[in-house]
Amino acid sequence: MSQGHILHLISEFIDGELDPKMSEKVRTHLFFCNHCRNILKETQENEKRLKDLPFMTPSKGLDQKIIQALKEEMKSQKPMGTLEPSSFWGWFVSYKGLALAATAVLVVVLFKNIPQHLKSDGLSVSTVARHAPLDENGSASDDREVMMNEQEFHDLTQTKIAAETTLKEKLGTPAPIENLKPKEKSMPPMDMAPFAKVAPKADIQKAESKSVSPIPVEKKGEISSPMTAAPSIHQMTGKAGASAPAALRSAPNVSSHQPGWSEITGASSGFLEPMAEAITNARSWSRIWARHVAGMDPKPGVPTVNFTTHDVLFVCPGSQPTGGYAVEFTRVENTQWEGKPARVVYYRLITPPENSMKTMVITQPFIFRQVPKSKGPTFFKAVK
């Protein structure tokens, strides 16, 4: 298998067992790779041939033949408990007999080991047992429990009562249980003042859009801190701006919140790994935007997109070692794939010239572009 092919994933792809992200990668690879596409086709055809094999039914009477054989098999088996009931030995070796025998043995063993003090020998049953006192060597010469007589028990009880009385006098009488109540939490009432004037959501959005000032476009040569700056339209760093296409440099400074925005680029995205996605609905858009601006403060609001007529193409080649990197779309093609419309997006990573001055920070160049909506899948291809 050549490097770069996905032959090991074709089987799972056919069965729909790949997760959506991996499935999308396989689909993209298949679009561009004839070899893998042919193998997929052959494998799918073989799968269909196997599925279409005729279902072989058993001969008539086979089921009855097997049932008869099973009946004979069951009769020939003699599980425990099925010997002739009149045979004592047969009954004894059954599980019932063995269970009863085991119970009887247990009862006998327990009976033999019943403690002596429970047997009637003239002493009170309520006496307390204690072990024999230690002998002169400090060891228990006789470890059997020793019976106490009534007088000894009475003396011991009185001693205990006296000890308890002394303890109570020292500690005081505890409160009766019925008087114990859980402590009431004495928390101050909640101050509702900050929440008293919460505006409806729509008003908040309007207020935000009004208060955001246009993002300034950096002049050529200025070096910004890409880690904290909000994404600016056509932001460039270092000398990369000189080599960027003219269309990017001279575009007007359009606020990203205005519906008419066409493209957003920058050098700092929340996506650290390579990403290429065609965003076709508002839910995906807000999810991706939220992750894109995760490391920014303040976070810019989600740019407006009309997903009934437009899609958003997003490419981020992942973390780059220095400043000066950028990404651009070179071509967007509408084509056909498997008889259905498809879109192919070609993009290029712009690298800073070798001897140029670069900011020694890790950057994540990105590009968003609004494009007319496509009915089919979108495939991304990196070009040099």
Partner: protein, 197 residues
């Protein structure tokens, strides 16, 4: 063909020797088990024997069936193991016998001693007429495990989880074995000279 509708009660009844429960199990599962046995053996007589052996082994081992899988998965597992055991004992027999292209003469002797070519049973001619001949020939050339997994997935349409239960392997192994089996099937099918459509 009836769907899997057995419950713990059915297993209990089978364990207790309830003949009706046993008959129901056979009637419900015999068609699928026979189809699998036929695809494994490519011979109707052998498939019938193997099916009967499967159900007999099931009755013998029902006391050990803990109900962790469905009855269908359990029976499939027994059928596959019975087939593998037959292959092993057949391989041992052939290794000791004189290899001849002629059939044995006495009754009771195994007639299939020609291992150079597949058994030309009448049913294979049927397969040839139906255009599935090369599929059958390709299946015969697969290894044991490859053949089983291809039949379970592409013919019986079992899920990965069911295949894992039948073959007593984990799902990751099912995926990798199936991928390799399908690739081998594709290569062999090509070598047989069948033009892909």
């Amino acid at each position: 063909m009836q769907k899997e509708g057995h419950s713990a009660d059915d297993i209990y009844k089978i364990r207790e020797g309830d003949e009706n429960a046993v008959a129901k199990m056979v009637q419900d599962h015999l068609p699928r088990i026979f189809n699998l046995c036929f695809r494994l053996t490519a011979n109707r007589e052998k498939a019938e024997d193997l099916s009967q052996e499967t159900f007999i082994n099931a009755i013998r081992s029902v006391a050990r069936f803990r109900g962790e899988s469905t009855i269908s998965t359990w029976l499939y597992r027994i059928a596959v193991n019975a087939w593998k055991n037959r292959n092993r004992s057949q391989a041992r027999r052939f290794s000791k016998m004189h290899i001849s292209i002629f059939e044995g003469g006495k009754d009771g002797e195994d007639k299939e001693i020609d291992i150079a070519s597949p058994d030309p049973s009448p049913l294979e001619n049927l397969e040839r007429n139906e255009g599935n001949f090369f599929i059958i020939q390709t299946l015969k050339k697969l290894e044991e495990e490859e053949k089983v997994i291809i039949l379970l997935k592409d013919v019986d349409e079992k899920t990965y989880e069911e295949i894992a239960g039948i073959m007593n392997i984990n799902i990751g192994t099912v995926k990798s074995r199936l991928s390799r089996a399908r690739e081998r099937f594709r290569e062999i099918f090509k070598v047989l000279g069948v033009k892909q459509s």
